[in-house]
Symmetry: C3
Amino acid sequence: MTSDDVVRGLLDREAIVAVCVRYATALDSRDWPLLRTCFQPDVVGEYEGIGTLDGVDAIESVCRGALEPLDASQHLLGNHVVEVTGDDAVHSCQLHAQHVRAGAEGGDLYVVAGSYTDRLRRTPDGWRITHRRLAVTWTDGNPAVLQA
Amino acid sequence: MTSDDVVRGLLDREAIVAVCVRYATALDSRDWPLLRTCFQPDVVGEYEGIGTLDGVDAIESVCRGALEPLDASQHLLGNHVVEVTGDDAVHSCQLHAQHVRAGAEGGDLYVVAGSYTDRLRRTPDGWRITHRRLAVTWTDGNPAVLQA
Amino acid sequence: MTSDDVVRGLLDREAIVAVCVRYATALDSRDWPLLRTCFQPDVVGEYEGIGTLDGVDAIESVCRGALEPLDASQHLLGNHVVEVTGDDAVHSCQLHAQHVRAGAEGGDLYVVAGSYTDRLRRTPDGWRITHRRLAVTWTDGNPAVLQA
């Protein structure tokens, strides 16, 4: 590989991680227009415990429904793995998603932890997620926090 | 952009994340000289629940007061976002700060979770934080751990 | 430094973090052949609470013994620090290791949190860990989860 190809590879990796961090930022700041910039319009989401979500409207709707009733949330990410093949990429990471609703009967906190496994495509607007799978590894706290 | 500019951008990003990781390392190892290397002397800290801290002496003093009575602490970081403009930069990340004091009445652990939002400046000694805001998203465990 | 050296440094850093993330992936997916690709055969592990582990067979054996009885685990990493000197490197990171065993008496979850401090060597097969130290900072939940 020439050095330019290597540098492009590093930039791709950084840009792909940045999309996945932006998703977390969008959720935790309730910034739905920002959330949409993470996805291709025809994205498919397979969210464990929720089901299959067809298209960015469906993903936005489910996220709003889950998070808007809350006082706060925090999606902490780590363990990013990126593999790029031309204009396609796969990415995975681990997450701790904390959900906060003060006064919820049974406790204010509910954490859902697991992994995202993504496919992304390079577009004229940058890398976009075309497929996202959320797998849940463990939960802790009060599930009623999410059932407002 | 030429390739050299791109590479410089990647190095800047890495160096800025490294400063913020060094802050966590310094806190958790009680290495106060190391802590000071993260900041410009006239740094301003706005720490939710603590107040405005003017200058690196004030930040060191508050951190020492909070952490030296503890048996251990762990500041786990993720979701780093960096934007560089010339010799200035902004950075944000998410954190889980666990605090441990064995035998504290009500439990040994108290976690404070939230985000850092920083401004940094490029100096002859490397990137330094000039403004740091700590926002708290949620806490869990026994607050008395921090009230030794 | 020439630009090529700088780029090589960035690639080294990325490759070293990738080995440490691969270790976590291997543990949490119970992929023992993958686990072995993280280490030199004569690796030494010093795992707090477990002891000194001589060689990759010993590390695999201890990890299998701890994790195979579980329903799930999650090793979330952050705060990666990498320093490369020629063909040698040191790395450290912070971790939250969650262990899940449904129906364990006293609760399903046990988290062990701390740090890894590693030495690595560049080999024809890529970077490999030659020494790993696990230090435990705090634990929470039900220790019996790990005593199946």
